[in-house]
């Protein structure tokens, strides 16, 4: 019985290990992309910014995404100062519109706006994920596997493609072997690939609707010595979402 149990445990691990050996950087980042970009998703999240002086600012946002992150809508619920401000991102965030409820104005933003800090946080709009950026904008290379945050991980180096306008020259990503969730990402300076500027650490990984999901993420800004925590309050995947939700009309609602 004990031997049978071992066989059940050890055999899949061996298969996984040998399978892991064969995967290239490109294969792994494709699997990461497939894991984080679910067909549709809806959730609410709390974002807490901790400044250098220790002050905190908290935001709650509701978001919807469709077509594996190609369409995104984010609406702020709290605090009152930004309540009902909303951002619509289409075509993997190549088209961005922002709605300001106080002036009832919708403004189309150019893609450079992705470099701006999200409500003063350590996340830029670009960091929040623009669909398939890991694949489209970077060339990936597999490094030697490492343990990170207590997980057995693949380690990847992503180097920005010449034609890309992403804000980071390279990324180092630790991907959990068991579920392809990127547990840690190091971001390097736009012009200096040796200078680390930010680190993202994801934790509290739960399986929601069959999808491994990091319920908490902390972005450490190493340049400014500040950090922003993002905590998922509710999340659901692969639910029916109408295309009409991802329009300028819906943005104003």
């Amino acid at each position: 019985m004990k031997q049978l149990l071992h066989a059940f445990i050890i055999f899949p691990l061996l298969v996984l290990a040998s399978y892991g050996q064969e995967l290239t950087g490109k294969d792994i980042i494709q699997k990461v992309n497939d894991t984080i970009n679910v067909e549709t998703s809806h959730g609410t999240a709390k974002m807490t910014i901790v400044t250098t002086s220790g002050s905190k600012r908290t935001f709650v946002q509701e978001s919807w995404s469709k077509d594996k992150g190609e369409k995104n809508l984010v609406r702020y619920l709290e605090p009152q100062r930004v309540k009902d401000q909303a951002i619509l991102m289409l075509n993997n965030a190549d088209d961005i519109w922002m709605f300001f409820p106080r002036t009832q104005r919708v403004r189309k933003l150019a893609t450079h706006a992705k470099k701006q800090k999200m409500q003063g946080s350590d996340f830029s709009y670009e960091d929040m994920g623009s669909g398939d950026a890991f694949i489209k904008d970077y060339v990936s290379k597999r490094l030697e596997d490492e343990e990170n945050e207590g997980y057995d991980c693949f380690k990847l180096e992503l180097t920005r493609k010449r034609e890309s306008d992403m804000s980071y020259s390279r990324l180092i990503i630790w991907v959990i072997k068991a579920n392809f969730v990127p547990v840690t990402i190091d971001y390097y300076d736009e012009n200096d690939p040796s200078r680390k500027v930010k680190r993202l650490v994801q934790s509290d990984i739960q399986v929601v609707d069959g999808i491994p999901t990091a319920m908490k993420a902390v972005m450490f800004n190493l340049k400014d010595n500040t950090q922003t925590e993002l905590e998922m309050l509710e999340v659901e995947f692969n639910i029916p979402l109408d295309d009409s939700l991802f329009t300028e009309r819906a943005l104003k609602k």
Partner: protein
């Protein structure tokens, strides 16, 4: 005294109606009550003296989802002014121009700020799959420009504070989506007759990474002749006239820059036709600094500042027309100095008269719902120009708490 009594009675009435409405809706647990309180000081150094205008503003918003397809929203503003609440425009103008104004007329060139209580917006929005219908007093935002909007015949933004909210206008607005790429908007803003009412039609479309708008408007433009006094109305002579406008605007991305343009041609019933044009661009650098710039031409403005007359100045300062000088440029550079502090510099330059205004700005988040906004303004042009030294140097400090 009588006017104050009317304002007070009106305030009590509006408050009463909104209060009853809020109570009724809150009883149904469907109403949201929010808004902000704003305290502001505006100071100006003028001819050796420093003048201050204090403003306290309370804005109370109500919003209720009456059903899945029907929304009611309203806001009530109470604004209280203290300090120098009456400003004589002639104090800012060149002695040469002031000398052309008859002595007995001079006390009338006053812009006054008096306490006010009003229903700024109150509308019902019906949203169904084929259309959105918005009925009532509502904000109308037109055009893609940041500081100037040639196609917006309803509002004139403050050049030094272009993102401040605009007042509501009574209108019936119908938005009809035509497929996923187009939206047709029609708007009717009623006056005493059909002829005097504002009619608007706009088509919005999308090509590649560009949004574009084509718009036609007919509206009576409220204008005054500030050289003639109308004793019957105890005001300057009303010379309002019909304005027909055809325009277009676009916004998108070109070579990594955000770009926009807006154009409007205006056919006037009595006075000369004119056009307005805006082109602009913006960019965010990797080090987070944001830069926006805009060029504006308005042929209603004069190309030589020596031609600015008292009508030009009064219409400009009373927000009846958008510009007094023909060609202007605006540049705004902003950088997040910390997570909570944004610092910036606005620059406005008038090509027509060579005058320049420099406006350093600061925005600070005091807490989640309390923000401080401040700017200083330095007018560096020569006397008689739009941003001339005689317009005074000063600044603004605003504290706003949201609830």
């Amino acid at each position: 005294m009588k006017k104050r009594a009317i304002i007070f009675t009106r305030s009590v009435f509006i408050l009463g109606v909104l209060g009853l409405m809020a109570l009724s809706l809150m009883a149904q647990e469907k109403v949201e009550l929010f808004g902000y309180y704003e305290s502001q000081i505006l100071g100006t150094q003028l001819k050796g003296d420093f003048y201050q205008l204090f403003t306290n503003k309370l804005r109370v918003d109500l919003k209720s989802e009456l059903s899945e397809n029907i929304t009611f929203a309203a806001n009530f503003d109470y604004i209280n002014y203290l300090g120098k609440t009456e400003w004589n425009v002639l104090d800012f103008l060149s002695e040469e121009l002031v000398s052309t104004v008859p002595e007995e007329m001079r006390p009338f060139y006053v812009i006054a700020f008096s306490n006010d209580t009003f229903l700024d917006n109150a509308y019902i929005k019906l949203s169904f799959k084929p259309f959105d219908l918005t009925v009532g007093k509502q904000q109308i935002s037109l055009g893609t420009g940041y500081v100037w909007n040639p196609t917006d015949v309803f509002n004139i933004k403050d050049v030094l504070d272009p993102t401040y909210e605009q007042p509501g206008h009574t209108a019936l607005r119908l938005d009809i989506p035509l497929g996923s790429l187009y939206t047709l908007t029609t708007l009717y803003s009623p006056e005493e007759t059909w002829e005097k009412s504002t009619k608007l039609i706009q088509l919005k479309g999308n090509i590649s990474h560009f949004d574009y708008y084509v718009i036609a408007v007919e509206r009576i433009w409220p204008f005054h002749d500030y050289t003639e006094f109308d004793p019957a109305n105890m005001n300057f002579l009303d010379v309002s006239e019909k304005r027909k406008m055809l325009g277009g605007s676009t916004v998108g991305e070109l070579l990594g820059l955000g770009v926009w343009a807006e154009y409007a041609y205006n056919w006037m019933a009595k006075s000369d036709d004119f056009y307005e044009l805006v082109v602009g661009a913006d960019y965010t650098f990797d080090f987070q600094t944001y830069v926006t710039m805009e060029y504006y031409r308005n042929t209603l403005g004069k190309s030589d500042y020596k031609d600015y007359d008292i009508n030009d100045w009064m219409r400009f300062l009373s927000a009846e027309q958008k510009a007094i000088c023909r060609d202007q440029a605006y540049v705004f550079v902003q950088h997040p100095a910390t997570d909570l502090l944004d610092v910036g510099l606005q620059t406005v330059y008038c090509f027509s008269d060579g005058s320049l205004a420099l406006v350093p700005t600061l925005g600070y988040s005091l807490s989640d719902n309390v923000v401080i906004y401040a700017y200083l303004n330095f007018n560096l042009g020569k006397e008689g120009t739009v941003y001339g030294k005689n317009m005074g140097n000063g600044g603004l400090l605003r504290l706003r708490a949201y609830f």
